[in-house]
Symmetry: C2
Subunit: 433 residues, 2 copies
């Protein structure tokens, strides 16, 4: 399958762009060629020619942290802090979730993410075979973990068993779009010996790890009281950081923690909106970046955000740290864009070069409508994407060369049915209609 | 003109909503009736019947602070602080602006605001007769000020003269949609005697005042050094607060300042995204609200934001203060919604009841598409509007009973021409194409 896509401009990465008409040749799942100006050869070479003269092409956004099926819980726990939110609002409802609910909730998340220009997402949740099925059908790229909790022996064993089974069934599935990582939930739900077992399993299976670390001030205080160590130091002592790790949040980390993250090559998923809404705080992202830590951006689950819009996270990453530290140069537009694309790809363990548009890289491409007022007047394209554009400007989405959305219409999902099934399922388990 | 609008749900105000089918009767520019269920009488009573069974109706959003034509400067000054931004990026370009540029720049702003569900905006800028013309044509409600700067005698006199002329020509124009306020820029551009003259002019013309106050830490330090008083205390001493005042920003205010704002009935326009992007800081909005200060929300100009999307401001107002103060109950969804609607109306001096949907109130109505994933599953409508919805969900906009946007299409503006004219004008004065 050969596709010719002509556009009005291209952002290839945070460091390079074409500010004028350009063409992209897609062969199967990869970009074969990308250059300024029209395609020189005959268009009869192509199975499909897509002309979008007013479109800006950019790398698909990468959502580096989330819990997709929590779309089902959107709005159940507003205006309460993390601990209350988790124990009083979320856990009681999650106890009633079924595989069917995870499947439809994940499809709802995929729909929302496609609409807002995300092409790859991470997920750590339960009954993940159902989530993986949804991700496969949606056409998105996905990095999936079966959430592991070690608070009792039965749960701990189930976590290991489910993860082994899930990895065997789904790692590199869906033409390689789906990869599996290990998902120990957090140090406060996984005792030290369990974290060490997870680290050993990571080595055995050759799979990286994602975990929540240092999300709240209380978590750090508890960790210091219990282990005499911050969550970062503790996780390192348990052997986790001997393996590739993506740490979500890292809101409350000090310079020693940051030095460990850098030294051990731990990636961080920054979730600014979720951290604000749950009153967790503001992660020291500028300091982490200055130390050389790889930082991606995530929405977190829709119950703590309450949407899955990566444009909002990118904009917040570029503005929040400026305001809080009264430093207008903190996290410039280029840096926030990189965090949502190429750094995000690195954060979620995708091969080098993912998150950019270049020959040989996957055709994970998002088109924005430059006739939108957000792009007028035309100036710095990257600035407009980070500071002005939004989900309302996204028109087309490609993942691995396949069109998931065309001119605003999602092609891979039956959105009417998702609406129907989610309403039905939610009325069953929460009494809401 | 009688219109029947049937919708799937209505948020009338932050305190009341109809979570099911409802109808709204619009007579000329006002809401004549609003109730749950279908309209009981014959539809032949109406000139127009609009059926939106999947729409959520809410009061149009009110943008309480901005500089509309600064859309022309979108993206010219990123990642620099206010002082540099103003003196090195903005002022040199503004010196080249023409009336024609202000007209087209304001139309661009109106287009962007209509698309994102704003029905009323404030503006403080230059050559405001051109801005007023644009506002009148757009169909939006507008609260307009000719910016006054008193750094030299000629500018000071021109400001007074222009304001008198502008108020005479435009106050209550466009069927009352346009009102005029006085616009002294700030204490650091208006010497004390000039502020006092503006206060006297306010009394003479019976028009309220809008001004920038306490935006940056440096402004406060300079004010203390020069006047021995904070900008708030200083403005009060100059006699400004004896008249109705809308103070934009109020980022750096202490408890004494807040007590003055409350005691004097000064309204505040909170511009969270602009304050973050320009590294000004985070306004103590929760403390101002607790003290009983009326706080509205604004985008500020598109050169410091860089868009005019009030959903983003509403969401930031509801999340930023939670995160920064680590208090999940700070500015709950209901409060942020009120700040964007009924409190915003009060902040910009509209009559009591504006910013709500109720019989007798103006038909300033926005419809959101509840088939969007942001509204699934259906739960608390107000939470979904504040925490999940976005400009991409806005389908229809009414102001004073007139349809400005229908099913995503802006009806009152020639958007193709705006794009063309803005590109042309910007290439003239900034060398950009």
């Amino acid at each position: 399958m050969r596709t010719l896509l002509t556009v009005g401009a291209v952002i290839q990465s945070s460091e390079s762009w074409i500010d004028g008409p350009a063409h992209i040749v897609i062969e199967d799942d990869r970009i074969a060629a990308l250059a300024a100006g029209p395609y020189a050869g005959p268009q009869s070479e192509f199975d499909l020619v897509i002309r979008r003269p007013h479109a800006l092409a950019l790398p698909g956004l990468i959502n580096a942290h989330g819990h997709a099926a929590m779309t089902l819980l959107r709005g159940v726990g507003d205006d309460v802090p993390l601990f209350t939110w988790l124990h009083e609002r979320i856990f009681p409802l999650e106890a009633k979730l079924t595989g069917e609910a995870v499947y439809w909730g994940t499809l709802l998340a995929c729909w929302e993410m496609i609409r807002s220009g995300t092409t790859c997402f991470t997920d750590m949740y339960m009954m993940m075979d159902h989530a993986a099925q949804a991700a496969a059908e949606s056409g998105l790229r996905a990095v999936l973990s079966w959430g592991m909790v070690g608070l009792d022996e039965a749960s701990a064993e189930a976590g290991i068993r489910n993860t082994r089974r899930f990895a065997a069934a789904w790692h590199k599935a869906a033409d390689g779009r789906i990869t599996v990582t290990l998902g120990p939930h957090a140090p406060y739900t996984c005792p030290p010996a369990y974290l060490t077992r997870v680290a050993e399993l990571s080595a055995e299976l050759g799979l990286p790890i994602q975990i929540h670390l240092a999300e709240t001030r209380q978590e750090v205080a508890d960790s210091l009281a219990r282990y005499g160590a911050s969550p970062i130091v503790h996780a390192d002592r348990c052997g986790l950081f001997a393996h590739p790790v993506l740490a979500a949040h890292c809101v409350h980390v000090d310079d020693d923690d940051i030095a460990i993250l850098q030294h051990r090559g731990v990636r961080v998923a920054h979730n600014p909106q979720s951290n604000l809404k749950l009153a967790s705080g503001v992660a020291p992202v500028a300091r982490m970046r200055a130390a050389g830590v790889t930082v991606g951006l995530g929405t977190d689950g829709a119950a703590s955000n309450n949407n899955l819009d990566m444009f909002e996270e990118m904009r917040l990453a570029a503005t929040l740290h400026k305001g809080v530290h009264e430093d207008a140069a903190a996290i410039p537009a280029r840096e926030a864009f990189a965090m949502a694309t190429e750094l995000g790809a690195r954060a979620v363990f995708l091969p080098e070069g993912h998150g950019t548009l270049a020959p040989g890289q996957p055709a994970d491409i998002v088109l924005l409508d430059m006739t939108s007022p957000h792009f007028i007047p035309p100036r710095d394209l990257l600035s407009h994407v980070v500071y002005a554009a939004g989900a309302d400007d996204v028109t087309d989405v490609f993942v691995a060369g396949r069109m998931l959305m065309a001119k605003g219409e999602v092609l891979t999902l039956d959105t009417e049915r998702i609406r129907y099934e989610v309403r039905r399922l939610v009325s069953l388990f929460s009494g809401s209609s």
